[in-house]
């Protein structure tokens, strides 16, 4: 065991000699929008708690949605992530500080992401696959432990299997997708009708009619109160 640490430290010490400048990193991701049951958990803690609007999330925190939950999270590096019901992922830690790469670990469900344009800073790992993003809009769906589907709406995404036997990667462009299956080489590119997947997420932040009605009613009450206060003051 000690020898293993020694080997690790050999590499770590070598890094000190390199002495490259480190970029500044934003620390917080934040909740932009949510509806229904959406929960967050601090890294290392066992308790899930309901998230709140604009809540700040730390790298390594987990976020999950219930059957009726959905959320939009703005990551620290400005990428936007939307998660559908029954999804779970970890807020990325900037694993590679020098290259400033955010690494999302997705555990289940559906995740839509928009990375910064022409930027190679976002990676998403699912139980059986991994993708690197070269801008900008893509969709990842975990269809059980052995299959993940990737679809690209904009930009280019490089997809590869976590299976050691299949070392190569697949480049997906606009309106292309693929399903990565355990034990199979990810080589099939599937076509999508352009725009059809983006459309699915167009109204993502739209709240249910009931919720909209409640929020509008609350705003109306506040408007009444404001008018009364201003008149009194006058």
């Amino acid at each position: 065991m000690k020898l293993l640490h020694v080997i690790a430290f050999l590499f770590l010490t070598a890094s000190l000699m390199a002495g490259e400048a480190l970029p500044e990193i934003e620390l917080f991701s934040s909740v932009y929008f949510f509806e229904g049951g959406v929960y967050a958990k601090s890294a290392g803690s066992g308790d899930w708690s309901e998230i709140s609007q604009s809540q700040e999330l730390m790298p390594g925190d987990a976020v999950k949605t219930g059957e009726d939950g959905k959320a939009t999270i703005i990551l620290a590096d400005s990428a936007i992530v939307r998660i559908s019901p029954l999804s779970e992922f970890l807020i990325p830690e900037n694993l590679n500080v020098r290259k400033k790469i955010s690494f999302i670990e997705m555990l289940r469900g559906v995740l839509w992401a928009r990375a910064k344009k022409d930027d190679d800073s976002l990676r998403v790992a699912t139980p059986n696959a991994i993708c690197g993003v070269r801008g900008t809009e893509f969709l990842v769906e975990i269809l059980g432990e052995d299959a993940t589907e990737f679809n690209v709406m904009d930009g280019v995404v490089e997809v590869k299997s976590k299976d050691d036997a299949f070392a190569g990667s697949l480049l997906l462009r606009v309106a292309e997708g693929t399903m990565v299956r355990r034990g199979r080489k990810p080589d099939k590119i599937l076509k999508n009708r352009p725009g059809i997947l983006s459309g699915r997420f167009k109204d993502f932040e739209r709240i249910s009619p009931q919720m909209a009605k409640n929020a509008a009613k609350k705003a109306m009450n506040d408007l009444d109160r404001l008018e009364k206060l201003l008149r009194e003051e006058k």
Partner: protein
């Protein structure tokens, strides 16, 4: 000779390590390197910035001790490592990768916690006057060191527990920082507003008040909130150039209500359809008015915009809802036809129940949202049971094959926008059932989709 052999082995080790590093999981080694660099840099920064602070001195000392211990360890074991047989390298490196995965996340966490804590502490050093805060901070730093110590010694038995402990302390500490941040922001905004109002006046009274505001700003920067609060509750400016007066607490409430209203309208604007969100945005714009008299005169327009938005929302949700419902009903009917053909479920009470609930759903068109949601969820639950009772056995791998095949087929078909959308929705349903492990239902839905494709063809 022996020395030569050692050098040869050392060189080989470095070469092999380099090659093996390339083949390791992407990013692992560079990630380790980056993290270690960050820790080292942080220590240097702390030393450079606040060399006299006992806390930072302590951190720097421990960091130096850590590095020196590592160097000694490396020196002492170098020869031993070099003597390890080449055949063992693969195994060692793969084990090492496992160790790194275990060590790096907590190390990163401790690192980023300390880095952030330091940033916040530099901004709010005045908080140490609060005994409870000082105690919490001491505990947090001690807990961080305890974690670092364990990592250093390679003792990971209680690491998880220690990290939980650290997180709990961090959360309490950071809550105080956040609360302080919010308070300072709120007070600064109010003071800036008062200053703006005063800048238009030229009386000696205005100048006197201006001086008072400057004093209060200094107190705010020093974290003395009580005098700031007292000042703000006594001096609230209504924004009228002539006849300013000291305001009672109503001024505070007006600001609070405006803030709340702005937040609500912002949320509504973000979540409403485009044409409606424009109305909310316009209302939001009107609430930017800082002059109270003018603000009051714009309120009727704000009200009209909000009422228009609510009306628009009702119409929009009505048509949208019906469109979605029609598609849902069509999909259920396709499924029903399939179940009727399946001998294992035909004429069963469950099937009859499905039929009657579907009929109910059809009658609910144009009904209220709650009734519709209940009816759909009822139908879904029966559908799940029904699907599980079919004679088909579903293999997930085969289902995925079928899904891919049908997707390819659809991609090659000439479809109208509406048809393409319908197909997409059907595939979404299949994927959803696959995700939650409802394989029989996926199978049924796949069959429904195939029939649909056949029909269009």
């Amino acid at each position: 000779m022996m020395f030569g052999k050692q050098i040869f082995l050392m060189l080989t080790m470095i070469l092999v390590a380099g090659m093996a590093a390339e083949t390791l999981a992407e990013g692992t080694i560079s990630d380790a390197i980056s993290r270690r660099m960050l820790l080292e840099r942080k220590s240097q920064m702390l030393k450079a910035k606040s060399p006299d602070s006992p806390k930072f001195k302590d951190f720097s000392m421990r960091s130096d001790q850590f590095n020196s211990a590592v160097s000694k360890l490396i020196e002492a074991k170098k020869v031993l490592a070099a003597m390890t047989s080449l055949a063992g390298w693969d195994k060692l490196l793969s084990e090492w990768e496992g160790v790194l995965h275990k060590i790096l996340p907590p190390l990163s966490r401790v690192n980023s916690d300390l880095r952030e804590e330091k940033n916040l502490f530099n901004r709010f050093q005045f908080l140490t006057r609060d005994k409870e805060f000082a105690r919490l901070r001491d505990e947090f730093i001690k807990a961080s060191f305890a974690v670092a110590e364990q990592l250093k010694n390679g003792e990971d038995g209680q690491l998880q527990e220690q990290i939980q402990n650290l997180n709990g302390k961090k959360q309490r500490l950071f809550n105080i920082y956040r609360e302080t941040e919010r308070k300072i922001k709120r007070f600064s905004e109010e003071l800036a507003k008062i200053k703006r109002d005063l800048s238009s006046g030229s009386s000696s009274e205005d100048r006197e008040k201006g001086k008072q505001v400057q004093e209060v700003e200094k107190k705010l920067a020093a974290g003395e909130f009580r005098p700031v609060e007292d000042f703000l509750s006594r001096f609230r400016m209504p924004g009228k150039p002539e006849g300013r007066k000291e305001l009672v607490s109503a001024g505070g409430e007006i600001d609070m209500v405006v803030r709340r209203l702005r937040l609500q309208l912002g949320f509504l604007a973000r979540s409403a359809p485009e044409d409606i969100s424009g109305l909310y945005r316009e209302a939001l714009q009107l609430l930017n008015e800082t002059d109270r008299a003018r603000l009051l005169s714009t309120l009727p327009r704000v009200r009209a915009l909000m009422q228009q938005a609510i009306k628009g929302l009702e119409t929009e949700s009505g048509t949208g809802k019906d469109r979605v419902l029609e598609r849902e009903i069509a999909a259920y009917e396709e499924e029903l036809a399939l179940y009727r053909q399946d001998e294992s479920v035909s004429n069963r009470p469950l099937l009859q129940m499905f039929e009657s609930r579907l009929k109910m759903l059809k009658n609910l068109k144009g009904g209220n949202a709650t009734q519709l949601e209940n009816a759909v969820s009822n139908l879904d639950s029966i559908r799940k049971q029904l699907s599980e009772k079919t004679s088909r056995t579903a293999d997930p791998s085969a289902l995925l094959d079928q899904l891919t095949a049908i997707r390819e087929r659809i991609a090659n078909m000439e479809l109208s926008d509406a048809q393409a959308e319908e197909m997409q929705e059907a595939m979404e349903r299949i994927k959803k059932s696959l995700r939650v492990g409802q394989l029989s239902l996926s199978d049924t839905l796949l069959k429904v989709l195939k029939r649909k494709v056949e029909k269009i063809k």
